[in-house]
Amino acid sequence: MTQGYILPPNVPASRVVDFDIYNPPELEKGVHEAWLTLHRANDANLLWTFRNGGHWIVNKGTLVPEFYVNYESFSSNANVPRGRSNAIPASMDPPEVLPYRKVINSLLSPKVIKAMEDNIRARTIALTEQLARRDGCEFVADFALKLPLELFMEWAALPLADMHWLRRYAEEMMRPTTDEEPIAKQEALASYLDPFLNERRARPGDDLLSQLVCSLVDGRPMTHDEARRIASQFIVAGLDTVAAMLSFIFLHLGRDQRLQSRLRHSPEEIPGAVEEFLRRFPLVSRPREVTTMFEFDGVTLAVGDIIIIPTALHSLDDSIFPDAQKIDLDRTQQVSATFGFGPHRCPGSTLARTELRIVLEEWLKRFPEFEIADESQVEFRAGIVAAMARLPLRWAARPAN
């Protein structure tokens, strides 16, 4: 055990593991694999890791929904390592969060996303056409990050030149490399947004930020402070997750030529495949903070304890999804944990599904069979939201004409 670490009195030594959520053992084999390895090596439903200040880990897939749903015992105002944030809505609990979710849900509703589809498709085609002239790419930087970022920047009417700067902020929030408080990182992002929000309030357009600053919360106008906290969350949550999901999907397809060929020849199967990919590659392991003493699985969760709830263990639980590691397009769909459960269920799910579907449709139309160019260069990132850092793909170049 690490020197100087004192186990809290409510943590039995038998529950202690060495698991850094930001750098788990054998991360090079994959993020989902790292969670599974932890799960298979430990029978208990609740584990305690002394990394990152010490926190619990839910180690059983079937328990994941109830820990996300039970906001009365487990507050969303939690971070690993410990630290406050003031994000709206992610750090708020019901009932406080409800009027904000109402605003956000309406900004991201299926009707709104449907109206954006043609634009999403046009941008996707433009990016894929550029890449299809080559014979390979680093998929994460060359495509997976670019598309959702470009779409978001355009929707929010923010300068495209700021795109990569913003992404680094999102990265730092999800997978921190410094000990700075989350609230300080959020503040930097919010300060960037201040002039844009002021400008949109004065002269609203039809962009996302204008709609946000002009919306009503419980019947009254949204304040500047609320708008900057919500807009910061859009950036943190919207720039990172679709990119990560695309990367995991293309890693899988690059390794599975039969599935590639099946989807290329039967594009009508793509929407179902998107659901199965979403199930198979969940990204999120959110923290919760215990607010009332809770007896569970033979241990006492003390007020102030932090719990990490890995959605990966729900999706990869064979008792929920038989042969869970297998991509099976004929699976009878069940609700997966990928978009979460309860009051914080992802409000961007329709946008995510739409982007993923369109990318698969347009990419498979234009590209020949592709594969991983160099497995040793594939690199994963672990944290509150899992991601990939590098994914080199290659394919046969189009004959010059």
């Binding site: 019901p94 849900n105 009707k111 709104v112 009051p343 914080h344 269920r345 409000p347």
Partner: protein
Amino acid sequence: MPTIVIRDAAGAVHRIDASNGSNLMVEARAHSVAGIIGECGGCLNCGSCHIHVDPEWIDRLPPASDDEWSLIEGLLECSAESRLACQLELDDAMDGLSCTVPGPA
């Protein structure tokens, strides 16, 4: 114990003997009604349990709250007969309720 009739997104008709006090989303999921997903678990965060209630029934149900209606308005197939199944708490007065899951989006 009310009996509810649901025509699902795949065209199948389900007759569900539901429990009083349960809600229609939970009952429909328990009977694998295609198109009723209930992703958020019933806390008005997703709209994935959208149904169209038969016109003769719509006024016999407790009206939708503002929060429910605000979510319904953003759905692709919203109509005057739209409801979210998770918001319909079942009781004997709903015996015979008949509804349809809107077609695939």
